[in-house]
């Protein structure tokens, strides 16, 4: 392998023959687990289905196949287990909506009690099951530092029930409960919460954000998380074509733009302190990101809401400054 | 369930405030009775945890298994660990006419202002005794010793054994000594109490 910097080799390819085998993604390996296999009922272009496979396959590699999963109610659970079929090739337990973290804590404790502590536990939930109804149990799991990797697939709304607003819905987004009617311009500014920041406040061993646009980065973060014990939290942005009003072929592109605009900062934190960020190579104006999504369509057109777009731009700029996301800048 | 007599041999009601060891007193009495081969039951009245609040506890002792867990309504003995509670309504309710009222007080029975109490009254300065030996006013073991001496529900020896098991080391010895002191004082006071109970 030469020292030459090869630009073809990078994060935009799931696998690449120019890479050393050890640096290739799990997804590029035909022998991957395929933890969630084909035949499930997800929408075309579903970011969550893609992320779940990437995350769990990476977790299976990291744990030598010694892993069990707990899954909250939501899109992922519903489209993957229509009795009598199941798309899961790993041990999988459906919890309820708000308790994936508590159920996972119980699984971890039970395995340890039985002397099977080598088996790792991964909990999965959507943003609703994490930041809203799931936050009590999740905070409890964090505070006890239970040995669970909790993965939140954030599509920024209650998608499975028809696209209602959640505590992760971004400002100005149109959802079934924040339609831009009357004087409202979509979801209100000044609401919402950042679970990654809340997770950091619990000072758990590892917190990371990622998107489905950068599979190497996502897999690496799963591997990092799995190399640790205690509570670990991974927050993955997963565009939802149905809920966001994007083209089903734009899922990866939209996720990339979210990161490159600064609206979705990509970073890692260890023991509550930022440990690294994924720098933006070229800052993309938020408008380029927003225009691809029908949930922001009301911001454009005649007259549209240019003031709101401007406000979102300022939010993105603040996020970039806060996390030090632009290349060449120090935090 | 098998056929048994329905009334317990002895029923005691303890009154005091949270933090004075009222519940412990009832439990110690029950343990002592158990160790003497009798059936016994201690039940506290219940509330959220709070010091200074009125607390009631019951103890039943019988020579047959005790099946019922209802509150003691006709106690043969009422023990008042805190004299400031003497005039709280209900404190003497149900006390049998041939029963005993044992009060933690430096006063004499006829100085307590209970002219309507027909039961025998005995006072023991339990707080003072415990302050002298323990350095703080914890009247329950003194009163238990007095109770044992006055009623014979349990022996002093059984009581002291229960105390030593409950409070390990020095605390156990000190409290056992307090029980003995209470026992002794009760013997002294009981003659006084008997004569005063005739009045009014």
């Amino acid at each position: 392998m030469t020292e030459l910097k090869l630009y073809q080799v990078g994060t935009f390819a799931a696998g690449n023959r120019l890479l050393d085998a050890s640096e290739r993604t799990e997804q590029s390996d035909a022998g991957r687990t395929n933890s969630i296999t084909s035949g499930h009922r997800a929408c075309r272009g579903c970011g969550e289905a893609l992320a779940a496979r990437v995350v769990l396959d990476a977790a299976m590699r990291a744990s030598d196949g010694r892993m069990v999963t707990v899954n909250a109610t939501g899109c992922l659970e519903v489209f993957s287990t229509p009795y009598p079929e199941s798309a899961w090739r790993v041990p999988w337990l459906h919890s309820l909506f708000g308790n994936a973290a508590a159920v996972a804590s119980g699984v971890a404790a039970s395995l340890r009690a039985q002397g099977r502590g080598d088996v790792r536990v991964v909990a999965q939930a959507g943003d609703g099951g994490t930041v809203d109804i799931g936050i009590g149990c999740l905070s409890g799991m964090f505070e006890r530092n239970d040995d669970v990797l909790f993965v939140c697939y954030d599509n920024q709304g209650y998608m499975n029930t028809g696209v209602q607003r959640s505590g992760a819905t971004p400002p100005a987004a149109s959802t079934a409960t924040t339609r831009p009617v009357g004087s409202r311009v979509g979801n209100a500014f000044g609401t919402g919460k950042s679970l990654p920041v809340i997770a950091m406040a619990h000072q758990i061993p590892y917190v990371a954000t990622a998107t489905v646009a950068d599979l190497h980065d996502l897999e690496r973060k799963v591997a990092t998380a799995m190399s640790m014990h205690g509570s670990r939290y991974l927050h993955v942005l997963v565009p939802c074509p149905l809920g966001w009003g994007t083209s089903s072929s734009d899922t990866v592109r939209v996720a990339r733009l979210a990161a490159e605009s600064g609206l979705f900062p990509v970073f890692e934190a260890v023991d509550g302190e930022i440990d690294g960020v994924r720098r933006i190579r070229r800052q993309v104006p938020v408008e380029e990101y927003l225009r691809l999504q029908a949930r922001f369509a009301h911001l454009f057109g005649d007259p549209g809401h240019p003031d709101v777009v401007e406000r979102l731009q300022r939010q993105a700029d603040r996020s970039i400054a806060h996390f030090g996301l632009l290349e060449g800048e120090q935090r | 369930m098998t056929t048994h007599g329905t009334r317990a041999a002895a029923e005691v009601r303890f009154h005091g405030r949270g933090g004075q060891g009222v519940v412990t007193a009832a439990e110690l009495l029950s343990v002592a009775a158990f160790d003497q081969g009798r059936a016994s039951q201690a039940i506290p009245s219940f509330g959220s945890e709070r010091t200074g609040a009125p607390v009631v506890a019951y103890c039943r002792v019988a020579d047959r298994p005790i099946r019922s867990h209802d509150p003691v309504t006709s106690p043969g003995v009422v023990v008042v660990q805190d004299p400031t509670m003497l005039h709280v309504p209900g404190i003497l309710t149900g006390l049998r006419a041939d029963g005993l009222l044992l009060v933690n007080s430096t006063r004499r029975p006829d100085e307590l202002g209970l002219p309507d109490c027909v039961a025998r009254i005995v006072t023991v300065p339990a707080s003072d005794v415990s302050r002298a030996r323990l350095g703080r006013p914890l009247p329950n073991t003194v009163l238990l010793g007095a109770l044992a001496g006055l009623t014979g529900i349990v022996s002093l020896a059984a009581l002291q054994k229960a105390i030593r098991e409950r409070f390990r080391g020095d605390a156990g010895e000190l409290n056992a000594a307090l029980a003995a002191e209470g026992h002794r004082l009760a013997q002294e006071r009981s003659t006084e109490g008997a004569s005063h109970a005739q009045a009014g």
């Binding site: 459906h94 009590g136 | 439990e27 039951q41 219940f46 099946r67 509150p71």
Partner: protein, 408 residues
């Protein structure tokens, strides 16, 4: 070994001897002494390899038990009242997934108004959750039932709730014989789950079942519950053979043989009632007592047979089904449908008001004399005057005054 010990402490020691893998604990009056004692026992190494998980809520507690059980571990928790409601979503989840979790419920009233004292409304509210519900009439039985609960749960793969009266039993100190480790081991083998999270044999637990299969799933669950009646009695018989003690089972009867009037109830009031039955028998009244130990599934045949020779039954309910009547009373009426037995439905002892000897005596004497209503619910310990005054006040209120200026 028989020793003077607090009910909660005895239960905790029993649970520890049942070798749990995970105990999930969240405190609520009046269960606190149980989880506190278990915490000490685990820390002292007296609960085997048990993991003690201090969860953030009762919902977290039952959730953790579900996870623990699905991972192949023996799981236990305890709660009461509001806590039971807070985990309500997880209860049918456990039974639906056939996870044999065992839980103590220290029976306490449901708010509002908030009330921390003993009645049976909490257990009643979850009677349809698919859990087996056993009621202890004494602390000895409470202790014994916990061993039996694990045996029943794990042989049937159904979760079991052991109900014991809050404060009245949990905080009572009396002579209790806690089964020793050998006795427990003779009765309770290692847990063999029906399905388990295991990387070597991956399965999906908890799929989404649609209209095409749901009915069959629930029917099978119902059939299994009814079959469990035999198993529950069988486990009680086995318990008797190992310990020499009669505890548990479906019902308990006392002087029922030639009883004309029978009192039916749940829990610790049965002890009080037994004393009263003896007194009244001495006075020549043919009264008897039937205790329901297994409340769910409802042992209909057993109860019907037990009451075959009675002419009157007094059901003493410590819970009220607002807008309907009572649960236990309704269950008894259903059981006796078509028979000539007169049922007197009585409510007493709500929110910790004690069921006293005097109250039970009065009820039985009135029943014998035919003075109890057989069609109206009797509130036996109600301050009638106070209630009537309040109701009168509600009838003559602002609503009866014409608002000014409003035309007809």
């Amino acid at each position: 070994m028989l020793r003077q010990v607090e009910g909660s402490r005895a239960v905790a020691e029993t649970v520890a001897r049942c070798r749990p893998d995970v105990v999930a604990a969240y405190p609520i009056s009046p269960q606190t002494h149980i989880v506190e004692a278990l915490s000490d026992l685990v820390a002292e190494g007296r609960a085997g390899r048990c993991e003690f998980l201090m969860v953030e809520s009762e919902f977290g507690a039952m959730s953790a038990c579900i996870g623990a059980s699905a991972a192949g571990g023996r799981a236990y928790t305890a709660t009461a009242s509001q806590g039971l409601l807070f985990m309500a979503e997880a209860l049918p989840n456990a039974s639906g997934l056939r996870l044999p979790v065992v839980m103590t419920v220290a029976n306490r009233a449901l708010g509002a108004p908030i009330n921390i004292w003993n009645d049976h409304s909490d257990a009643m509210s979850q009677r349809d959750a698919g859990w087996i519900q056993l009621f202890a009439s004494s602390n000895q039985e409470a202790v014994d039932l916990h061993v039996q609960a694990f045996v029943v749960a794990e042989s049937l793969h159904v979760p079991v709730m052991v109900n014991m009266d809050g404060f009245v039993l949990t905080h009572a100190m009396e002579g209790i014989d806690v089964p020793d480790q050998d006795e427990v081991d003779a009765l309770l083998p290692p847990f063999r789950p029906l399905h388990v999270l295991d990387p070597d044999h991956p399965v999906t637990i908890g799929a989404m079942v649609g209209p095409e299969a749901f009915t069959e799933v629930k029917y099978l669950e119902a059939r299994r519950q009814l079959r469990s009646l035999d198993a529950i009695q069988e486990v009680a018989d086995r318990f008797h053979r190992v310990t020499g003690r009669r505890s548990g089972g479906l019902t308990s009867s006392y002087r029922l043989e030639d009883a004309d009037v029978v009192l039916i109830g749940l829990g610790s009031l049965l002890g009080t009632a037994a004393d009263v039955v003896d007194e009244l028998r001495d006075e020549g009244l043919a009264v008897g007592l039937l205790g329901v130990t297994c409340f769910r599934p409802w042992p209909l045949d057993e109860i019907r047979d037990s009451l075959a020779d009675a002419s009157r039954v007094v059901v003493l309910n410590r819970a009220l089904s607002v807008g309907f009547g009572t649960v236990l009373g309704a269950d008894v009426r259903l059981t006796l449908a078509g028979s000539q037995v007169v049922v007197h439905d009585v409510v007493a002892g709500l929110g910790g008001r004690p069921v006293t000897r005097d109250l039970v005596r009065r009820l039985l004497v009135e029943a014998v004399r035919g003075e109890l209503s057989d069609h109206q619910l009797t509130f036996a310990d109600l301050d009638v005057d106070l209630a009537e005054r309040e109701l009168l006040g509600e009838l003559v209120g602002p609503m009866d005054v014409e608002p000014e200026g409003v035309g007809r």
